[in-house]
Symmetry: C2
Subunit: 260 residues, 2 copies
């Protein structure tokens, strides 16, 4: 999807974003796509435990689509235990049922928990993601405080690694999001919404021409028809430019009529 | 990420999911990844306008990771206008500012609007996604009722096509989700949480052994220490198996002590 403002294309780390920890990722391409998904969501701290193809990895850079800051600053570990050592709250992302008693958080519940721990205790939190094929081992899951389960179609829940990272990071961003439009907004454009007066002048113009054109066959009809026309134009919320265009159309059409 | 229950791996179309419309997609691989992301979120109706490499496309099948039902049922169109003809509400996904006056919905606001229209008017809704490199043309955007803007890091907002489709579909699923865990749940496991009585028996066992071992140097200390121990074990919420294990540990340790 197009749309990046390249003058702003640098890492903007929102304070206390969770650390993303990839355990044993197999493909550099996936690591790069994870970095891209992270930066899309202003999450920038990446840790990698035993990347299969070593590090640095040119395939990761190629697929990061410019999120190279995230890759350059990634830290590499040989054990998951070391990768989580300084963290105060860790979630293990997995779709599988485990013979382990742990709380399970949905994506939204997880990001709420992380935000709460950030806000109240300045806790540094991390999220573990397992290798592409097999997911996390139980030995990794036990290092986490709880499980994160992304609620998907139970009949087809297998996600690509970068997509799992994206959904979790996007959930976190949505929880924090300083960039989030508040519900519905209207695109700022050069032309402003028409004032009520401008719409009234348009309506008067239309009415005037309709009268001249003998549009209202019976006087009784007139108020109802005018009310419907008024209702349409107010509901349509035209811009000033729209009103100018509509008045031009009316003028043009009536000009034509006078030529008949 | 592992975790699909393959016995359930078929399309489960939640009623009135939005139609996903890819306009001019360039790479079959991306179309397949879109199909996978859709099925992850129980969204199954795909329409494609002028796929660059024709249709069907083997590269799409290869990257769909089993979401072939979605591809097999995809409908192909030569114009966006035809692709949206039967729809009652259409959103155009774009990150760019347009010289068009349209409402802009964030992802969540969009899925709420679609759900509302589904619930109250049985309206069929669709979401347009443009080509990978350039995004939607204005001629396509004008066919939509409103714009959908995925709120991301404004400094790095360029998403892969399938990732844009995933975020939108996941937002829709999360709005509807019959599979969504309600906040925090606890993993069902073979062993059940211990009853309060079982915990009390463990505590009594521990207290008994502590007394035998002359743990409480002063009688005044004892209630406070016991309260702290009790508090720890109740807070820890052990399972029945945990309690059995803990009692075994106590027995083992005290057995050792008797050998001293």
């Amino acid at each position: 999807m197009a749309g990046t403002n390249s003058s702003l294309a640098k890492a903007k780390n929102t304070p206390l974003a969770p650390v993303i920890i990839l355990v044993g990722p197999q493909f550099g391409e996936n690591i790069g796509m994870c970095a891209r998904a992270m930066l899309n969501c202003a999450v920038t701290e990446l840790r990698i435990v035993n990347p299969r193809d070593g590090w640095p990895n040119p395939a990761a850079v190629a697929s990061a689509s410019g999120a190279t800051d995230v890759l350059d600053r990634a830290k590499i570990y040989t054990t998951t235990k070391d990768a989580v050592a300084d963290l105060e709250f860790v979630l293990a992302t997995t779709a599988r049922t485990r013979d382990l008693v742990k709380k399970i958080y949905s994506t939204d519940a997880a990001t709420k928990e992380i935000s709460h721990r950030n806000a109240t205790g300045k806790q540094k939190c991390g999220i573990l993601f397992g290798p592409e094929r097999s997911g996390l081992e139980n030995d990794d899951v036990v290092l986490a405080n709880a499980i994160l389960n992304i609620p998907l179609n139970p009949g087809f829940s297998s996600l690509n690694l970068a997509q799992a990272v994206l959904l979790v990071c996007f959930s976190w961003l949505s929880e924090q999001n300083p960039f989030r439009p508040e519900g519905i907004t209207v695109d700022p454009v050069e032309t402003s919404p028409a004032t009520k007066e401008e719409i009234e002048l348009l309506l008067a113009h239309i009415e005037d021409e309709l009268v001249k054109g003998d549009f209202f066959r019976s006087p009784a009809q007139k108020p109802t028809i005018l009310r419907n026309i008024r209702n349409f134009f107010f509901r349509a919320a035209p811009t000033q430019q729209d009103v100018r265009t509509l008045r031009g159309i009316v003028s043009c059409l009536t000009g034509k009529r006078s030529w008949k």
